[in-house]
């Protein structure tokens, strides 16, 4: 079947309209700090039969539903997009991080997968009619699918949320990312087998052959392929034109991996994903290259895929409130409880565990990829697909606010301003370094029931190494002690106290900072933050001259 010049024209117009709408809605969503993928899906819904198709059916048909050959061309492009999307997802899976995060990551990801899988599987297996499944032959595969759909986490949305909450580069951020990566790996493996069981891919191999071949493929790629790619990548980066050479290499391998798994009988996406992991593991692969591949795929191909979803499905006629509700409830219950319990048993505190649960709850684009593949394979019908899309959107949009709520007291997000308490800021008449330090310790010990002698000995031990008179009238005595929270008190001396400061100026603002012994980086960060506040001499003069405590706190916070 050849494309006529008219088909080509319409095909190109369709692609342009899809890309334009995806960009416009993606950017609009970004403006309100929401994932751009949500905008891309909305663009599809608006362009598709749900809105545009029902308002102007003739024009819709002219652009998007004109001939079989253009349908095939669009289908080919969206298939390529999914393969590329999984390839770039694989590139960011860092297996070493998963191993490094140890017990907590393992508990979070394993329980966070098993629990939602179990409730999803049981609900779909025993009550398939509630989810709109009448064909009993598909009951087992459908139940496996629902379990997998509920257990998956979308790494891109998780990464974005962590970045927005400013906790990406923290222990809890690493834990969530590591668990999400592990989730992805297992989730896609299971899903690929489900598609294999449906017999949509491959050459009709027996299931035992499919499983064996897949395991051999995984083992080869992750053990041998990884090492080979690691040797080749520096050569390609140095000897071929950059970035063309390395981009070419990544996509060639990704497509070959995809072709192989499609041949074996599991879906092509899995091959691309595993090849992505094997390439992405290389220490030689430049960060710049990773970002370039991401941009290439996610600005051109991924939007086409997400817009195409709305073009295929009518979201109004296929909307079933009950199915949507069931999926949303199961999704929240499965992930929040599963990952939350895993993190809690792995050693995290209750609030942190809940934050991790909500962080891992975002399904985003990955759920939609999973849904569309299941829809294409005939495993689910449009009502279930629509419910999955809505569930993916709801879980993604709710992830950040819930995480933010539970992470309020999280140590790594503490800043100096948040530590300032009116009852722990006072004017002092002390006239020596030791007496003001004692006064500060007494204030904190009384308020928080701390061991005065222990703290004094630790603070003075630190003071004996080098004076904490940092200059510009600031003194910052501090110590790392066995406490669970940061404690902070401020004494203001109008007269000034001799503190052996670097600039010989007397200390007029004396801040006592006590940080937990097991969070050494927190102390360094807070000291650095306080030091930076005291750079501007005029602002410090104004701060010292504050008439009362309330004014002092306002001025301090504005430094």
């Amino acid at each position: 079947m050849n494309l006529t010049p008219e088909d080509i024209t319409r095909f190109l117009i369709a692609i342009s309209v899809m890309l334009f709408a995806a960009k416009v809605f993606g950017e609009l969503l970004r403006l309100i700090k929401q994932p751009s993928v949500v905008g891309e899906i909305l663009a599809g819904i608006i362009l598709g039969p749900t809105v545009f198709g029902s308002i102007a059916p003739d024009m819709f048909n002219t652009i998007f539903a004109n001939s079989k050959s253009t349908d095939i061309a669009i289908d080919g492009i969206t298939n390529l997009a999914v393969i590329m999307l999984l390839l770039v997802s694989g590139l960011e899976v860092n297996l070493s991080l998963v191993f490094k995060q140890g017990k907590t990551a393992l508990y979070t990801s394993v329980i966070g997968m098993v629990f939602p899988f179990a409730i999803g599987f049981l609900a779909a297996y025993y009550f398939p009619e509630f989810l709109g499944i009448k064909d009993s032959a598909l009951r087992l595969i459908f139940a496996l699918f629902v379990g997998t759909a509920l257990s998956i986490t979308a790494l891109p949305v998780v990464a974005r949320t962590l970045m927005d909450l400013n906790i990406f580069k923290t222990q809890i951020g690493f834990l969530i990312i590591a668990s999400a990566m592990f989730n992805d790996l297992i989730g896609w493996l299971v899903f690929s087998f489900i598609l294999g069981m449906l017999g949509q891919s491959g050459h009709g191999f027996d299931i035992s052959v499919i499983i064996t071949s897949t395991l051999v493929f995984i083992a080869f790629m992750l053990l041998v392929g990884r090492k080979i790619f690691n040797k080749i990548i520096p050569f390609i980066q140095n000897k071929t034109s950059y970035p063309g050479g390395i981009l070419n290499f990544i996509f060639i391998l990704g497509f070959l991996g995809a072709a192989l798994t499609e041949y074996i009988g599991i879906h092509a996406i899995f091959g691309a994903f595993i090849v992505g992991i094997a390439i992405g593991d290389s220490a030689h692969l430049k960060e710049q290259t990773r970002e370039m591949v991401q941009q290439f795929v996610t600005n051109i191909f991924a939007p086409l895929f997400f817009v195409s979803i709305g073009l295929r499905v009518n979201f109004i006629t296929s909307f079933d409130f009950m199915i949507v509700l069931i999926f949303v409830v199961l999704a929240f219950a499965g992930k929040v409880i599963g990952c939350g319990l895993g993190a809690y048993w792995g050693g995290m505190k209750k609030d942190e565990a809940l934050a991790i649960g909500f962080g891992m709850n975002s399904r985003g684009a990955m759920e939609i990829v999973l849904g569309i593949l299941a829809l294409q394979a005939g495993l689910i019908h449009e009502r279930v697909f629509v419910a999955l899309v809505i569930m993916a959107l709801v879980t993604s949009l709710s992830s950040a606010p819930f995480m933010n709520y539970f992470l309020k007291r999280f140590k790594d997000s503490i800043n100096v301003n948040s530590l300032l308490k009116p009852d722990l800021v006072f004017y002092t008449n002390s006239d020596s370094k030791e007496s003001v330090i004692e006064e500060l310790i007494r204030k904190l010990s009384e308020k928080y029931k701390l061991d005065y002698s222990y703290i004094k000995s630790e603070v003075m031990k630190r003071e004996s190494i080098i004076s904490t008179g940092l200059g510009n009238h600031l003194a910052l005595p501090h110590a790392k002690i066995k406490i669970s929270e940061v404690h902070f008190a401020v004494a203001i001396s109008k007269e000034g106290i001799e503190f052996d400061s670097l600039d010989d100026k007397p200390a007029k603002i004396i801040i006592l900072l006590l940080t937990p012994f097991d969070h050494p980086e927190l102390q360094l960060r807070l000291i650095s933050e306080i030091s930076k506040k005291f750079k501007d001499e005029d602002a410090i003069k104004e701060l010292i001259d504050s008439d009362n405590i309330s004014k002092f706190i306002t001025n301090f916070k504005s430094l």
């Binding site: 941009q295 600005n299 080098i466």
Partner: protein, 276 residues
């Protein structure tokens, strides 16, 4: 700093050089030396070992040899534990052949599961030279402070020209955020912000230690832990890298999914002092 030093002594080509190096450090730290020999004990072997040890500069009356038989790495570790040795000195090739790397040589086995601090010398010399540039891999923890203090004491004794503190940090998954921002600028901006925060923390860390009498430099590197340190040490021509010993025994799987220490162990960039 180290009260008891252990040295596995054999009749290998670099034994004498290792003995000379051990003598130097035992004098520097005023440490007792215990020699470990893996093999069967006989008068003739003992006699030859003593001759060898004396040729390394040790007084005959101070020679204390402990004997053991079996897997060399296991025996050496067992003898270290039994004799409360707190520093074991060993020689190692910079790079093993591929198969040997995965199977594990004696030195690599000791590095992957040290029972005490381990000093791995890549080029032991009959005329030991002091270390000029000492690098320390840190993460700002209490253990890092211990590492830096050891580096400082060693640097003062060796009259080193600088101590370089290396902090590596990486945020896996960062590139994937490009997906939703559609902009590498924002990613670059956040990476720069993290880098400047790391530098500020490094400055405070160095300041807190108040090390006087030697140049102390801090470098913050974005990338895989171990890999970045190894590359930096090579580029900086450091002759000693001090780092924490692995917190748990490194297994075969760690060699396949290399991380942290394994990047360094695979190809030693210089001599290594692992602190337990």
């Amino acid at each position: 700093m180290f009260k008891k030093i252990g040295l596995a002594v054999t009749f290998s080509p670099n034994s004498k050089a290792l003995l000379k190096e051990t003598k130097l450090y035992s004098d520097q730290f005023s440490s007792e030396v215990i020699f470990i020999h893996v093999g069967s004990k006989s008068d003739s072997i003992e006699e030859r070992l003593k001759e060898l040890i004396v040729s390394g500069g040790f007084a005959p009356e101070s020679i204390n040899i402990v004997w053991g038989q079996g897997d060399p790495a296991k025996v050496i570790n067992k003898k270290c534990e039994e004799n409360n040795i707190d520093l074991l000195i060993a020689g190692a090739l910079e790079k093993e052949k591929v198969i040997k790397y995965y199977i594990g040589s004696v030195a690599r086995k000791l590095m992957r599961d040290p029972v005490c601090s381990l000093f791995v010398l890549t080029e032991p010399s009959l005329e030991p030279k002091p270390f000029k540039k000492i690098s320390v891999q840190i993460d700002y923890s209490y253990e890092s402070e211990i590492l830096v203090n050891i580096a400082y004491q060693l640097a003062i004794k060796e009259k080193a020209s600088e101590i370089c503190l290396i902090r590596e940090y990486e945020v896996p998954g960062l590139a994937i955020t490009v997906y939703d921002t559609g902009s590498t600028d924002e990613t670059e901006k956040i990476r720069k912000k993290w880098h400047s925060e790391e530098k500020e923390k490094m400055d405070v860390f160095i300041n807190e230690l108040n090390l006087t009498g030697i140049k102390v430099r801090g470098v913050c590197l974005y990338g895989k832990e171990g890999w970045e340190a190894s590359n930096f040490v090579k580029e900086n021509n450091s002759d000693l890298l001090i780092m924490s010993a692995p917190s748990k025994k490194l297994s075969f799987i760690d060699r396949f999914f290399q991380h942290n220490e394994e990047f360094i162990f695979k190809e030693l960039p210089c001599s290594i002092l692992l602190i337990k």
